[in-house]
């Protein structure tokens, strides 16, 4: 009879920049001062966008909108580690990611304004249309990553999802395929502590989401999702690993949704103001500002300038968005098949005349 420990596992946590802007330089990802400024500028831009989009929904100028306040570092910090040609599979909470991935702001607005034209990715970058059914996009990323491997090109695939999505079979099946076929894919879980009203603890009995990767035979890491350097470092490592044929990684970004789930939600029904205030102290942008000030990369004038520049960019996009002609109603038929069916042609005639 034998009884012994067969295997023991550990789960790592990474924070580079703390709440007070103190940085562990030994853990810093390789970033020039210019790159750090670019990150900061993008963080501010997406936050300005998020607030604007929310306001527009409240004014009836957009439909349901999904905010991402608090999660900017997860989206921006990971996006910068990717190349345009890499394949990104976003979820509905990823407007910030899309903007960081060169999706025109005017199109992001179009989408939330209820217009499918907003979903079409520009030709020079590989962003998939955002997924609405939770978790369903995860296997696609594995397939896309796997395809690049079979085709022999060094393209990485990255997929974004929430803590709630890790309860779905889609997630587990995708993770398993990624492990079995050693696929160049990075799984980015934005663990914002809630799936609408359901807290993370009720979503999974695992202590971390990162550790789920272990079951599928590859690495998982938890990072401070409000620390843009930690996200960036983990992502750069994971992308490099994938590009070099060393397989998948799961990155759990430990973060918080500093807003309601959506413009139809009221988070005060299921969480306290105190909790929100505690998390607000960890704010990703304020934290980076503190660091940059110490490094003489930021002063009040620069900060003001970036804020007003961001507002200009967003306002310009809003103006353009509101001037857009309405979509052609016949569009509902145009993109379903390569060629319209007989039935569709008849229906189109019935609805629109010729």
């Amino acid at each position: 009879m034998v009884k012994r420990v067969l295997k023991e596992f550990k789960v790592e946590y990474l924070q580079v920049l703390d709440e007070n802007g103190n940085c562990d330089e030994s853990l810093m990802p390789k970033l020039s001062n210019e790159e750090i400024k670019k990150i900061y500028e993008m963080l501010v831009l997406v936050r300005v966008f998020d607030q604007k989009a929310f306001n527009m929904q409240r004014q009836g100028r957009l439909g349901t909108y999904i905010q991402f306040k608090g999660q900017e570092a997860c989206q921006v910090g990971s996006a910068i580690a990717l190349e345009d040609k890499d394949f990104v599979f976003p979820m509905y909470r990823n407007s910030g990611l899309l903007i960081a991935r060169k999706h025109p702001i005017v199109q992001v607005l179009q989408y939330w304004g209820g217009d499918e034209r907003g979903l079409r990715s520009p030709e020079n970058v590989n962003n998939f249309p955002i997924a609405i059914p939770v978790g369903t996009q995860v296997p696609h990323a594995v397939g896309a990553g796997w395809a690049t491997k079979l085709k022999g090109i060094k393209q990485v695939s990255a997929v974004y999802f929430g803590d709630g999505a890790t309860s779905k079979g889609d997630f587990h099946e995708a993770m398993n395929f990624a492990g079995v076929f050693n696929v160049p894919v990075v799984f980015i879980c934005e663990n914002n502590q809630f799936a609408i009203s359901v807290p993370r603890k009720k979503q999974t009995h695992s202590e971390t989401i990162a550790q789920k990767a272990i079951a599928y035979g590859f690495e998982g890491i938890q990072v401070d999702g409000m620390d843009v350097f930690a996200v960036c470092k983990a992502m750069k490592d994971a992308v490099e690993k994938a590009r070099n044929g060393k397989g998948p990684t799961l990155i759990e970004c430990f973060t918080y949704r500093m807003c309601d789930h959506s413009t139809s939600d009221d988070a005060s029904k299921y969480r306290t103001k105190e909790e929100l205030e505690e998390w607000a102290k960890k704010d990703p942008i304020e934290r980076l500002e503190k660091y940059m000030r110490k490094k003489n990369l930021l002063d009040d004038a620069y900060k003001e300038n970036i804020l007003s520049k961001s507002k200009d960019i967003v306002e310009k996009a809003v103006t353009e968005f509101e001037k857009m002609p309405a979509p052609d109603p016949k569009d509902i038929f145009r993109y379903v098949f390569a060629e319209m069916t007989q039935q569709q042609k008849e229906e189109m005639k019935e609805l629109f005349g010729n």
């Binding site: 304004g113 217009d115 059914p133 359901v198 979509p327 109603p329 509902i332 379903v336 229906e347």
Partner: protein, 324 residues
């Protein structure tokens, strides 16, 4: 009697059944402290406890799959799927198991689950939040499919569904969740599954609809201003559907229009037309017309109104059949 909307009638029905039978459990995403994203389960967890009104992980296949297991072992699970567009993940469980357990175990096991889910469009919601998939679920033997169109029927059908010995999909018309108010009894009553409702009698044409489309048909009839005498039938149950009521009506009127939100090809109207052909063909004065959405995915808000059948399209359908 108490005045209630459809969503309030759901809450009342659930409360009644939870109180009546300790084996009834309600489970789904956000049904607990949040009371459901439409507040259909508002206050129920507080009243009946977290073991009977259960917040689940985010997994529709899991929700339906465990409900099947609970039902097989004597509970009466009432699962909520947040939007019907997310029920497709559980299709395998419904088709391969829920609908077959009685048959495969030769009656030794049964599967009396209820799966409630808001369905339909017209509220400019996000993608996949507007689906009308009733025909898909009607194509599963062993699975019942119910769609109320008003508060009274909602509570009565829900009670009937929960007390039904077999699995029932309970589609709730999201667009009119709060649009119709009606006096409904507080005490238990049933609206039988499988019985259509003749909403108004008429002699010229039979108009058939279900769910939110019943209201649209009523609006169309009002606009007709007695030009024709319309018999409006609210189907109420998709499977097993009430062929008798339809056939009797069509034999009387000789003309029929069927309106549904779902797309045309393989929509449920096709099944009803087949039944009419089989049993009332010689009574027909004109081909039966369908007023449906076109064969395309439900478009986002900007183009939604071009997709969904409205009063004018129903009137056009009626006119076409009347002047044939």
């Amino acid at each position: 009697m108490v005045v209630a909307t459809i969503v309030q009638a759901v809450t009342m029905g659930l409360r009644q059944e939870l109180a009546r039978d300790n084996n009834v459990v309600v489970l789904g995403e956000d049904v607990g402290i949040n009371g459901g994203v439409f507040r259909a389960t508002d206050g129920l967890q507080k009243e009946f406890g977290p073991e009977r009104v259960i917040d689940t992980p985010l997994a529709e296949l899991g929700i339906v799959g465990v409900s099947i297991g609970m039902a097989v072992n004597g509970l009466k699970p009432v699962a909520e799927i947040q939007f019907s567009g997310f029920l497709y993940a559980a299709f395998d469980q419904l088709l391969s198991h829920a609908g077959r357990i009685r048959m495969r175990s030769r009656g030794r096991y049964t599967c009396p689950i209820v799966v409630r889910t808001p369905y339909g469009g017209g509220i400019k919601a996000l993608e996949l939040h507007c689906e009308s998939g009733e025909a898909l679920f009607s194509h599963i033997p062993g699975l019942k499919m119910v769609i109320p169109s008003n508060p009274y029927d909602t509570k009565g059908l829900l009670a009937a569904a929960i007390q039904d010995p077999d699995p029932v999909i309970f589609y709730e018309p999201m667009r009119i969740y709060r649009a119709i108010k009606q006096d409904i009894p507080e005490k238990e009553y049933f609206v039988p599954i499988g019985k259509a409702n003749v909403v108004q009698e008429g002699d010229d044409l039979t108009l058939i609809a279900w769910g939110a489309m019943v209201k649209t048909c009523q609006d169309a009839i009002e606009k007709l201003n007695n030009k024709y005498s319309i018999e409006l039938i609210d189907l109420r149950t998709i499977n097993p559907y009430d062929a008798e009521t339809i056939i009797n009506s069509v034999r009387k009127t000789g003309r029929c229009v069927i309106a549904h939100e779902a797309i045309r090809t393989s929509g449920f109207a096709a099944e009803l037309i087949a039944a009419i052909n089989e049993k009332a063909l010689l009574s027909l004065e004109a081909p039966v017309a369908r007023v449906t959405s076109p064969d395309v995915p439900f478009p986002m808000a900007k183009l939604e109104s071009y997709f969904l059948p409205d009063v004018n399209r129903i009137l056009k359908g009626i006119e076409k059949v009347m002047i044939f």
